[in-house]
Symmetry: C2
Subunit: 221 residues, 2 copies
């Protein structure tokens, strides 16, 4: 019984790690689709979102089952409650990758992004995918220091995001309103994706320390 | 002991209802601040957000405490798990009201909104505040039918939000890129606020029925 319980707790961490992998892959493909107007990749991300939702459902059901049948306490309870929160954050990261993919599909075969802002999105995409991978590692390692560095990586996305606004607000922006609207929303999707990654990392700090280090899905707009 | 337990469970519902009232008031004031370039009101919302965060912290700590000490099962467990989710959604609604208030402050004394889109925001604001009030009622009444109507109210916000995009994308949009960026983000804040309200309503359906009626923080962009 005890053994089954422990393996269900470990299973929960594996499920979250799987979600990290899925939402990281989704954002990698979505960014490629966005940068290269690749319709097939965009469709792949769009079709794959249901699977991420299913992973979230499973993690939440398993968490609920553990609470109902095992009444965990102390660290174990923190693991389960954190899994409830983290699976929600990770599912949302999947949605945000989905939104990027849908933007790429909506404008296909036209590129969504004016050439001048492409590098910002290439960089935000790279950092976003890296954050998902780092969160996955932290879920397994429970390494507090690694969890903390995720927050500083997020600062990079915030910096690029802010810079993007100065580009948009420049009186000389020559690409028109429709492109500005697309760029505004897309920038926000990456920024929120990174925020949710930070939030998951903070949940892992809570699991280990019992203290929640300031809530993390806040954005700075 | 049993009595104290029951009163703590009831207290949790009261805390969520308080949060509804706070985030409803925040969005009402933020919308007024936005429509009337009212700096004092905007500051009030901005200063008040910390209190909403504190309400969320308290609801989550109380939920955790109930799980740790009482090991609730069945409906009681659903109440506590739903409170964990709902308090997160409600806190986020507070953040979105905060973003609206910050936009009003950032452009003060200039109005943020071009005259032509003001009615859309007046209407979205009205529906958003109404949704918060309806969610508060559902938390107390546990009335499934009332919870379901919240979803159709949300459709109203989605409709206005979509319409706003057609206005923005019109080649004749005469207000420039900076105004378009503001309108894009503000529209999204209202739309997300309504999505989170729906999500809380669905949690209440889960409390009563034991089934989660499709997850609700999805947006349609």
């Amino acid at each position: 019984m005890r053994e089954a319980y422990q393996s269900r707790l470990d299973g929960l961490a594996d499920e979250l790690a799987d979600m990290c992998e899925s939402v990281g892959a989704a954002m990698r493909k979505a960014t490629d689709a966005l940068l290269n107007a690749d319709l097939a990749l965009a469709e792949e991300v769009i079709d794959g979102d249901l699977q991420i939702d299913a992973l979230r459902d499973r993690a939440q059901e398993d968490s609920f089952g553990l609470l109902a049948l095992q009444a965990p306490v102390a660290t174990d309870l923190r693991i389960v409650v954190s899994a409830i929160h983290a699976s929600g954050d990770l599912e949302r990261m999947g949605d945000l990758a989905l939104h990027v993919a849908k933007a790429a599909r909506r404008r296909h075969p036209e590129p969504v992004l004016p050439e001048s802002v492409r590098p910002y999105f290439a960089e935000m995409g790279e950092v976003a995918v890296k954050l998902a991978r780092q969160v996955e590692q932290v879920i397994h390692s429970k390494d507090i220091e690694a969890a903390k560095t995720i927050e500083s990586e997020d600062d990079q996305v915030d910096d690029i995001h802010r810079h993007l606004f100065t580009v948009l607000m420049d009186r000389e922006w020559p690409h028109g309103v429709a492109a500005a609207v697309d760029v505004t929303l897309l920038g926000r999707f990456y920024e929120r994706y990174a925020d949710h990654a930070v939030s998951v990392a903070k949940r892992m700090i809570f699991v280990v320390t019992g203290r929640m280090p300031g809530y993390g899905t806040d954005d700075d707009i």
